[in-house]
């Protein structure tokens, strides 16, 4: 008898836990409300089945626990009942699957006006690249990456010249504007994941993967790596700030482009050379003096 | 083989027979020796091994932007001063099919309890297998000499060498194991172990000519795999 009561308490406790839990999902800050809704739907249907099945089990424990001499029913099969249950389950499952597939269809089809953001991951950090005025990102190559070209951009690619480079693990996004995240990794698997945006995808070395979302709440969010990437996995954090259009544009204009970077480096190089020349001159003068 | 006779059980043909066999007691594969059934299931499992290798190869080759070496040129061999594409491979195929044929005949003679024919044919099969392994060793050394390594090759995509050595190596291992067993079985046939039902050294099971068929299944399987490797690796 006590067994039935404890099982009953477990079921009731589970339901109460779900209702009163202080731990539930972090507030959503993107367009993927549909995912949350499907989860809620699955929760209702699945939770209902769970409660029903377990309550029925508890009922059986109460009602049919062992009595000497009681005859159990002898009925090997009940075709009709089995058929009803099969079809009911199939329908239920189909009802859960349909919204899932519809939302997946939205997830893999990126809106035309989405801004591409190249997220580059390595052990253990992030950096970002935005398209410049031409609205297109240049092609890249891992072997091109060096101190002068931290993103490995193809120097001959005209689209790459005006790319905006954000050499920091913190990036800003424009509110209410769809973003296509293009993920790239130079070493191992990573995953650019912001719980509030609900969406994620692995960054796989050797290919470029993508997903999209539309942030719809201004604020700062933490970026987590969601695919195990070695011993520093847990420390591979970043940040994202969703801003209003004005703030975003202001921020954008302060960022340097690939062209700027090259120019800066050329200038640096030039100045280095000049410095050496001057030094030599000074040195020479000194030598003259001594003579 | 042809349908066995089972006391008190009438065998039917086709899918009806399948349903009846499956629904019957004691055995599902009527008249199939335990060892033979085991070999078949093992080969099924091994098929999945080779399939996974070939699928990996296909995926690797399909997704490389670097040019894949042309097997027709890589595996060409000079015959009388003229490069003949895939000459060695054609010879290897020829040898392996020959050995497969002799094995099939060995099984047949085994069941007819023709000890001599069976023994000689197994010996021929073993020698064929040995020739095959030898030719493969030659092919490997030739490619290694030309600079092909598991991690690189002078002709193009590095994966070419990786997959080539891995898949032919794995197949070659199968052939080598088969050759060893062929020699053992050849000895056992000639020594008459299968005629008198002598117990095996390892498993202590009684000898029977069905073991020749079991080994035959393995050997044909090795040939079968080669058919696929030939098509996908050398002709693609």
């Amino acid at each position: 008898m006590h067994a039935g009561i404890i099982f009953l308490l477990v079921i009731v406790g589970s339901v109460l836990f779900h209702i009163f839990t202080p731990w539930y999902w972090t507030d959503i800050a993107s367009n993927w409300q549909g995912m949350d809704d499907t989860i809620t739907l699955t929760f209702w249907v699945g939770g209902g089945v769970f409660v029903a099945v377990c309550l029925f089990m508890v009922y059986c424990v109460f009602r049919y626990s062992y009595k000497e001499g009681r005859k159990a029913e002898y009925k090997p099969e009940d075709k009709k009942l089995e058929k009803i249950l099969t079809w009911a389950t199939t329908l239920g499952v189909a009802a859960l699957l349909a919204p899932g597939l519809i939302i997946w269809n939205q997830y893999v089809n990126v809106p035309k006006n989405a801004i591409e953001v190249d997220v580059m991951a390595w052990q253990w950090g992030w950096q970002y690249r935005l398209p410049g005025e031409d609205g297109k990102l240049g092609t890249t190559k891992v072997t091109n990456i060096n101190d002068e070209n931290p993103f490995g951009i193809n120097v001959d690619d005209p689209f790459g010249r005006d790319d905006i480079l954000v050499q920091s693990d913190f990036i800003n996004l424009e509110n209410n504007k769809p973003v296509k995240i293009l993920l790239r990794s130079v070493d191992v698997l990573h995953n650019w994941y912001v719980p509030q945006f609900r969406s994620k995808m692995d960054a796989v070395p050797g290919i470029v993967t993508y997903y999209w979302f539309e942030p719809n709440k201004v604020g700062e969010y933490e970026v987590l790596c969601a695919e195990y990437c070695g011993v520093g996995h847990y420390a591979m954090r970043g940040g994202v700030e969703v801003q209003s259009t004005e703030d975003y544009n202001k921020w954008l204009s302060e960022q340097e482009t690939f062209q700027d970077l090259i120019a800066k480096q050329q200038k640096l190089e030039f100045e280095n050379k000049k410095l050496v020349k001057n030094n030599n001159l000074i040195l020479n003068k000194d030598i003259y003096k001594e003579e | 083989m042809s349908d066995p006779k089972i006391e008190g059980f009438e065998l039917e043909k086709g899918f009806r027979g399948m349903a009846k066999d499956t629904g019957s007691d004691q055995t599902m594969f009527k008249g199939v020796h335990w060892g033979k059934a085991m070999m078949w299931i093992f080969l099924l499992s091994d098929t999945f091994v080779f399939s996974c290798f070939l699928i990996a190869y296909m995926k690797g080759r399909a997704s490389t932007p670097v040019e894949w070496p042309n097997p027709s040129e890589v595996f060409a061999l000079d015959a009388f001063g003229v490069p003949v594409p895939l000459l060695l491979i054609a010879l290897m195929t020829f040898v392996l099919i020959t050995s497969s044929g002799t094995m099939a005949l060995a099984v047949k003679y085994g069941y007819e309890r023709n000890r001599k024919m069976c023994g000689y044919l197994i010996l021929a099969t073993a020698l064929g297998g040995l020739t095959f392994v030898g030719m493969q060793a030659y092919e490997w050394s030739k490619l290694i000499h030309e600079g092909v390594r598991p991690w690189e090759n002078p002709f193009g995509a590095a994966q070419f060498g990786s997959f080539f050595f891995m898949i032919t190596g794995f197949h070659g291992t199968h052939v080598s194991i088969g050759v060893i067993f062929l020699f053992i079985y050849c000895y056992k046939v000639f020594a008459g172990h299968y005629d008198e039902g002598k117990r095996g050294w390892f498993t202590k099971m009684r000898g029977d000519y069905v073991e020749v068929e079991i080994l035959g299944l393995y050997w044909h399987f090795v040939d079968l795999v080669w058919v696929f490797i030939f098509a996908f690796f050398y002709l693609w």
């Binding site: 549909g34 089945v49 893999v108 | -």
Partner: protein
């Protein structure tokens, strides 16, 4: 040599006899069972201690050997999980758990529990012990190969354990061993550790293939007279289907292990693209990490069912015996097992929805995955319908079964979340996943294992385990485990990613700290509670009640052996002849509330038996 085979007390060759049982007043024709197809199997009887207990060819001893070895690895896995929970619940408390160590614990815990503990325990342990007994065979069909299978497994375990002691320690790549990080610097144990892991896995596969061939052929080709496939206990069906899956899925693991070993040792680039590490380009290029994931999950998903299907089968038998009622919808149960097994080869990439594979695969795999939910749900319905209108003994065994139903339904339903592609996106790689698979393929099968131990202990050891201790064991384990994994789902909702050594002060986790401490505490208690079982076994072996023959009044053949515990050869002189399915409980008109599978039709002509 031949004297070793002298048939013990001269077993009767089955084929000489065609008739069994002579019913009173009923025509004996109705009991006719056709003669045996298989000749009497010769058995190699042991002559020395070593042959009897070490290099033994008796499937029952091999089963116990498998069982004990698997339990040993399981204990190692349990201790690792304690260490992990110590770090997660109380970070910094145990200073020796560095991030490297933590990831090594995670990896070894996962691999040990899934492959070396659960797979070996269900198939190697229960499979070896029960298959020959339940189908009415003298032994496995190839006892020698069976012995090799165990020793190969033993070597695999030894190699795995050796990796704890090599330089760099065991691999810390996560049990999925995803390249490229698995074999690169930055992952603990990327040198010796991963090599030993791959070697150990390959040995395991080879060893398992030998055992699996035995299980399959024994079930297909060595059943006793009258034992049709549709009269086999569901335990055998579960183990059989799981074995088929293993034979077809382990090749993918073998292949991926071999390829990764080559990547590591020879520098091939099967799974390795161009990689920039610490400013240097490594000598890899052109490979595809996702290919590994496909191969791995082509093994990995069937592997889930390799663990689950035997549990399904065993629990069906336990429920039926202890509810004193026939299993409801036997045929449906069988087809569900077979259907789940077949479908499991078409769903693997639902582990990879966010892996960056071709996004269009999502539609295909979500559909196939959710189709599996239907046969699985049917099994659940049939279990509870078996309880319905039964006469349920609420003993320890039944409690474990009820615990299984609760945890399995819970875990199965969270599976619908994760299988449904777009719902999986926010939840994948979070603690929701961890909670889900622990509930459904950790705790639920464990409940079945425990129930099976209490159920079959009288058969194996000849003594009854203590009921009172058993109930304490059950309630601490069940309530503890449930309170570990049920709340853990909610950590996943918050968005806490899995495989995090530490969350720092991340805003997602500040609210979950208390929860984590609670979960850890529960985990320590549940782990320690297993000592109750150890104590129970020790106590029972010393002072326990001697088990009578067939103490549970069950129908299946393993309880109808010549002696308890069964001797080598299982059934004495004559193999049993089977006339019915093993679930005839409470048949109207029968004197007892059970009818053994061997009861001949003429003996039960006066009852209302429906199903044979």
């Amino acid at each position: 040599m031949s004297d070793e085979y002298e048939n013990k007390s001269g077993y009767q060759a089955q084929s000489s006899e065609t008739m069994t049982g002579t019913g009173s007043g009923v025509s004996p024709d109705m009991d006719y069972v056709r003669p045996a197809e298989n000749p009497e199997q010769d058995l190699y009887h042991a002559h020395s201690f070593i042959e009897k207990w070490v290099f033994c060819q008796d499937a029952k001893v091999i089963g116990v050997q498998y069982f004990l070895t698997a339990v040993f690895t399981g204990v190692v896995g349990l201790i690792l999980s304690w260490l992990m929970r110590l770090q997660l619940g109380f970070p910094g408390l145990a200073g020796f758990i560095t991030a490297e160590h933590y990831y090594q614990f995670v990896t070894m815990h996962g691999m040990i529990m899934v492959v070396y503990f659960l797979t070996a325990l269900f198939l190697g342990g229960f499979g070896n012990y029960l298959i020959p007994l339940m189908v009415g065979a003298r032994d496995m069909v190839f006892p020698y190969v069976n012995m090799l299978s165990f020793w190969m497994f033993f070597v695999a375990v030894a190699v795995l354990m050796a990796s704890f002691f090599v330089p760099g320690g065991p691999t810390g790549a996560g049990w999925t061993l995803y390249p490229p990080q698995t074999i690169l610097e930055g992952t603990p144990g990327h040198g010796w550790g991963i090599l030993l892991m791959l070697i150990s896995l390959s040995l395991f596969v080879i060893g398992f293939t030998m055992g699996g061939l035995n299980y399959m052929i024994t079930i297909l080709q060595a059943r006793t007279r009258g034992m049709t496939l549709m009269r086999m206990p569901l335990t055998v069906w579960g183990i059989f289907t799981a074995t088929v899956l293993a034979m077809l899925a382990f090749p993918a693991l073998l292949v991926s292990s071999i390829m990764m070993t080559l990547d590591k040792l020879l520098g091939t680039s099967f799974f390795m693209p161009t990689i920039l590490k610490a400013g240097e380009v490594l000598e890899y290029g052109g490979g595809s990490p996702i290919l590994f994931q496909h191969l791995f999950w082509f093994f990995g998903h069937p592997e889930v069912y390799i663990v689950a299907l035997p549990a399904f089968g065993i629990v069906s038998d336990l429920i039926s015996v202890h509810a004193r009622k026939n299993i409801f919808g036997y045929r449906m149960m069988v087809w569900a097992i077979v259907g789940i097994g077949a479908l499991s080869f078409f769903v693997w990439a639902h582990h990879m929805y966010v892996s960056g594979m071709n996004p269009w695969f999502g539609f295909f795999f979500a559909s196939t995955t959710l189709i599996i939910a239907v046969p699985t749900a049917m099994k659940v319905y049939n279990w509870i319908l078996t309880l319905w209108r039964g006469n349920i003994r609420i003993n320890t065994v039944m409690l474990w079964c009820l615990g299984f139903i609760v945890t399995f339904v819970n875990g199965g339903i969270t599976g619908i979340f994760l299988g449904n592609v777009s719902v999986d996106v926010p939840l994948s790689d979070t603690y929701f996943v961890v909670a889900h698979f622990h509930m459904v393929m950790g705790i639920a099968p464990l409940m079945v294992i425990m129930g099976a131990i209490y159920h079959w202990f009288p058969l194996v050891a000849g003594k009854m385990l203590d009921e009172k201790l058993g109930k304490w064991h059950f309630w601490t384990t069940f309530l503890g485990a449930y309170s570990i994994y049920f709340p853990m789902h909610y950590l996943g909702f918050i968005g806490v990613p899995r495989r995090y050594y530490e969350m720092y002060d991340s805003p997602y986790m500040t609210s979950g700290v208390g929860l984590n401490e609670f979960i850890s505490t529960a985990a320590f208690i549940v782990g320690a509670a297993q000592l109750i079982l150890v104590f129970n076994i020790v106590k029972t072996m010393k002072t326990g009640k001697k088990a009578e023959k067939n103490p549970w009044k069950a129908n299946s053949l393993e309880w109808y052996t010549s002696t308890v515990p069964p001797e080598h050869g299982n059934f004495g002189e004559r193999l049993p002849v089977v006339h019915r399915w093993p679930y005839d409980y409470n048949v109207p008109g029968a004197e007892e509330d059970y009818l053994p599978q061997t009861a001949a039709p003429s003996e039960v002509a006066h009852t209302e038996v429906e199903k044979t």
